[in-house]
Amino acid sequence: MIYADNAATTKTSPKAIEKMVEVMNNTFGNPSSLYGVGQKAKEELEKSREEVAKVIGANPKEIIFTSGGSEADNQAIISAARLGARKGKKHIISSAFEHHAVLHTLNKLQGEGFEITLLDVHENGLIVPEEVENAIREDTALVTIMFANNEIGTIQPIREIGAICRKKGVLFHTDAVQAIGHVHVNVKEDNIDMLSASSHKFHGPKGVGFLYVKKGIALTNIIEGGAQERGKRAGTENVPGIAGMTVALKEAIEHLDENYESVSAKRDKLIAGLKEIPHCAINGDEKKRLPGNVNFCFEGIEGESLLLLLDDKGIQASSGSACTSGSLDPSHVLLAIGRVHDVAHGSLRLTINEETTDAEIDEIIKSVKEVVEYLRSFSPIWRDLVAGKKEFIL
């Protein structure tokens, strides 16, 4: 089996599992309790907070643990919106290819009277900082731009965008779910006010993540109840999950540079191999992308059947086709970079990691070539394209 869907989720690190089991066995107390085993859990929690903060260049007090990336995105955006609204600022800038955790939250705010500007992400899947600057108005409450896109992996000029927001005095949030643990992220150097992260994207457990909020920015609760997380996120803390996430994060950061090097090299090899398939195109800038992300469109075929046949060959991947999303439209990300429906349906995302071997890369290339050729052999679109009755798009 070749697991090439690391953007969907990653395999949990054995060290993280070990840590979680240890915490569940020995530190099962409630961090809010006064007695020993509770205080031990509290210690574990605060140690995690310190370590997570250190990794991204933050202060421990600026870290709120959440149930994952979605919750962190929701809380960051809602909080900034509430702060803005108090000053009569009801304009938010984001991009057309954000994760739904961001886009759906923005939709909700739009229903409450906020005006949302979604910036163009261009054909290469990159936001232009000057366009952020030009979009900022007197009443802009927030700029929220993802660090790296989850489908096409493009890494945004976050530092530049952050600098613009600082200069203009506008809050800046970034969904760094796909970036943390894979590329360098430092909230100070990158001028970030709020940042969302999710543990299961860097070999930590699922259902846990964190939100970084710069000191002085007041959060709005999404979950009301007890006074956990400085009163900003109720609910008995997921101590084992948080401790496991922390171990996984430290592990990822320790190996970040070497992994970046080796995974990028394999990615480039995979890209080069897939490019040999006629009438295909890579989605997103070829270099300014996450080390493990490869995303292609193949003309004349549909993504779900491609995935199913790859699965039969032991390769797990994903696609932005409509048929995999359960809706009639293909991925909003592919549409945002200007792929027309016809080819957006034929997309394939392969997200590899440090464990992917060169032999596996060769195997993926061979299998994708075979399956694309097979599906094209009975595709009516492909027949028309080859016969010249239709013009090739790619």
Partner: protein
């Protein structure tokens, strides 16, 4: 839990009647690339009997399986019987489809009917 029934996967992995009929006397194409599924059906009808049927499909697993099953259901049938093919029959023969994939079986029914209409039109001329 698997997304599709064993039957769907069987027809998807080993589609029956794939290809073209060069001297088809009824051809129908339905769907469009925008929605993500296109089916093209080729019929060879002799003495009002569907002697041969072939298909080409651009689409998801259930679209390919539905095309395959639809061809199986009408092959060797009189035209009048083939006209009665319903998407429900296609889906049932596949041991069911997920709700949001039912449109694939609808497309298969439409593709067959479109090819039969083409045949009828050609007969009139």
């Amino acid at each position: 839990m698997a997304l599709y029934s064993e039957k769907v996967m069987d027809h998807f992995r080993n589609p029956r009647n794939v290809g073209v009929i060069e001297d088809a006397n009824g051809i129908g194409e339905v769907g469009n690339a925008k929605c993500g599924d296109i089916m093209k059906m080729y019929l060879k009808i002799e003495d009002d009997i569907i002697k041969d049927v072939k298909f080409e499909t651009f689409g998801c697993g259930s679209a390919i399986a539905s095309s395959s099953m639809a061809t199986e259901l009408i092959k060797g049938q009189p035209v009048s019987e083939a006209m009665k093919l319903t998407n429900a029959a296609v889906a049932e023969a596949l041991d069911g489809l997920p709700d949001y994939k039912m449109h694939c079986s609808v497309l298969a029914e439409e593709a067959i009917k479109s090819a039969l209409e083409d045949y009828n039109k050609r007969q009139e001329n």
